[in-house]
Symmetry: C2
Subunit: 335 residues, 2 copies
């Protein structure tokens, strides 16, 4: 059992100085070919593994980003986290995650943790807009990017998907295919306000079209099913002929319920549009028309912003990106 092998042990064994070993690791072009090979051989022989803690300490904080998502149980966030990890990797950075599970306490705890870890920056999907806490963070110089929120006023960067446009596209599509009585599934309303407004904008463009809000406490499949049951039970003439779910889980839940209901056919009697384009959307019972959120772009941009801020703290201008969503037409809204 050999003791811990550090850069010093390697140096001693290879008969060079620690500085040279360090150069082999970080600036190989400064080292002659012979020494390079010698040192690398010695490293292999001794099974040297660079201690990243020491490295980061010396370099003043590291190549790590912290990310807080709302809820890993929601595929959208899981997929986004995954995309961010990939994006960070292309810049040679690592991401550590925390799931706030919609609890204030956990959000704060992760922020503390990330600060202690001296992360290079944070990517946060905030529970309720930018908190005072977060503003203080940026003021102290911590690069911060908020997801999915229009913090156009706060002094932080944000990357959001244009919910207004998304809502508009979804409902416009329903109207274009001849539907007129649209049900909007989702809540709490302030969390999905943009999508609602966009939906309303589309409705206003067509005479005789109506939009009804069906409020849900959460946004799970179960909530969707409950609403689906409700809608299926409505008398034929007041029953909507289209449903717009504020997220795919709601839409899928409603779809499940309707497909089983007697005398209701999807999409013939009721068309359905979801939101997020999670992986399951395409493989639903009736493949779900939905609004695709460009997750990769979102992730790429968020990572770009946070690293830019980290690199050029001085000249960094806060940006507020609003990415356009895209309509994906599938069977659930066929005529």
């Amino acid at each position: 059992m050999t003791g811990p092998v550090g850069i010093r042990e390697v140096a001693a064994r290879a008969q060079v100085s620690v500085g040279t070993v360090s150069n082999v690791l970080n600036k190989p072009e400064l080292v002659s070919a012979r020494t390079l090979e010698l040192v690398q051989a010695t490293m292999d022989e001794l099974g040297f593994v660079r201690n990243d803690l020491a490295r980061q300490l010396r370099m003043g904080g590291g190549t790590t980003l912290g990310m807080i998502v709302l809820n890993v149980a929601n595929p959208f966030w899981a997929e986004l986290a995954h995309a961010c990890e990939a994006a960070a990797e292309t810049h040679g950075h690592t991401v550590i995650f925390g799931s706030s599970d919609q609890l204030d306490g956990r959000e704060d705890r992760y922020i503390d943790l990330f600060e202690e870890q001296r992360v290079r920056g944070m990517l946060i999907a905030p529970l309720d807009g930018a908190t005072e806490r977060m503003n203080r963070l940026t003021r102290r110089g911590m690069p911060l990017v908020l997801f999915d929120i229009h913090a156009a006023d706060g002094d932080v960067c944000s990357v959001a998907l244009d919910g207004d446009v998304g809502g508009y596209l979804a409902v416009k599509h329903l109207l274009d295919t001849g539907r007129r009585r649209v049900a909007f599934l989702g809540g709490p309303l302030h969390q999905v306000e943009d999508r609602w407004k966009g939906a309303l904008r589309a409705i206003d463009e067509v005479d005789g079209a109506t939009l009804t809000h069906f409020d849900t406490a959460d946004q799970t499949i179960a909530d969707g099913r409950a609403m689906g049951d409700l809608i299926a039970g409505l008398p034929g003439d007041s029953r909507p002929d289209a449903i717009f779910g504020a997220n795919d889980l709601l839409a899928l839940g409603a779809m499940q319920s309707l497909v089983l209901a007697d005398g209701v056919h999807v999409p013939r009697d009721i068309a359905i549009v979801g939101y997020d384009d999670i992986d399951y959307a395409a493989s639903a019972i009736v493949p779900l028309t939905t609004i695709h959120q460009p997750r990769e772009a979102l992730a790429t941009e968020a990572v770009r912003l946070v690293l830019d801020h980290a690199a050029n703290g001085g000249v960094h201008e806060h940006e507020h990106l609003l990415l356009p969503p895209r309509l994906i037409v599938r069977a659930s809204t066929a005529r």
Copy 2:
């Protein structure tokens, strides 16, 4: 803009030594009440945040665990990761994640990364059993726990769910409810061998019962749908009257396909059992009977083992836990 504030700045401002400040942080009981309060006030005033990198460096590796999951896109792994995070938290540890996405390269890269980060131990869901790489890790003293694999021979700990029992329970239940021609959905076979064997064991107990293997390349909803279509198309008398999916996604996919098929009713004509009890299982079109894997127990035990190994490296005996799964009966197998 004040410079970086470290333990030294706090000490200077509060007119005490750095040792005292450190004690306030780590062993408050050694510090007199007055000094404690003074130092804490100073910390607040200066906005001190402990540098965990330095802390961990000094303490020789940290309070961090590394976890590699097969695929975050699969809810089972996402939920397990989440459970491990929670379990580690109760021991004051943090978990950093990596998703191998079923690629050898990524698995190795994460192992390297974790080693450089000097994690306290690793939790790995391996692609293909314990690799030589992993054995070498343990030999060098890295605490390691493998998931869901019977590495009874390798010199590492493992925590697995008893797939044999799970398969047995699932098929026994189908037989108990009168079904006789059972289809086993899943593949590649070596990855689900235990479940298959358990299923076979149940079949052998009943005269006239048969088990047919329907191989799938992957284990997604889409694969399940494809198999469902296939099965729905079989002539009535050779068509199975029950399906056992090697995971919930397969079972759900098959269910979706069958529910839409003319003249096939679930569970009347074909009963379905899944495996994993992911969150969506309960809220499927027809709530899915499934084998519940005790995720929390799995996570708790895995974390316990890895930390035990880390704490008592010397006297640590490798354990190979096999946790019993549980049958959850829902509508998809009603008589």
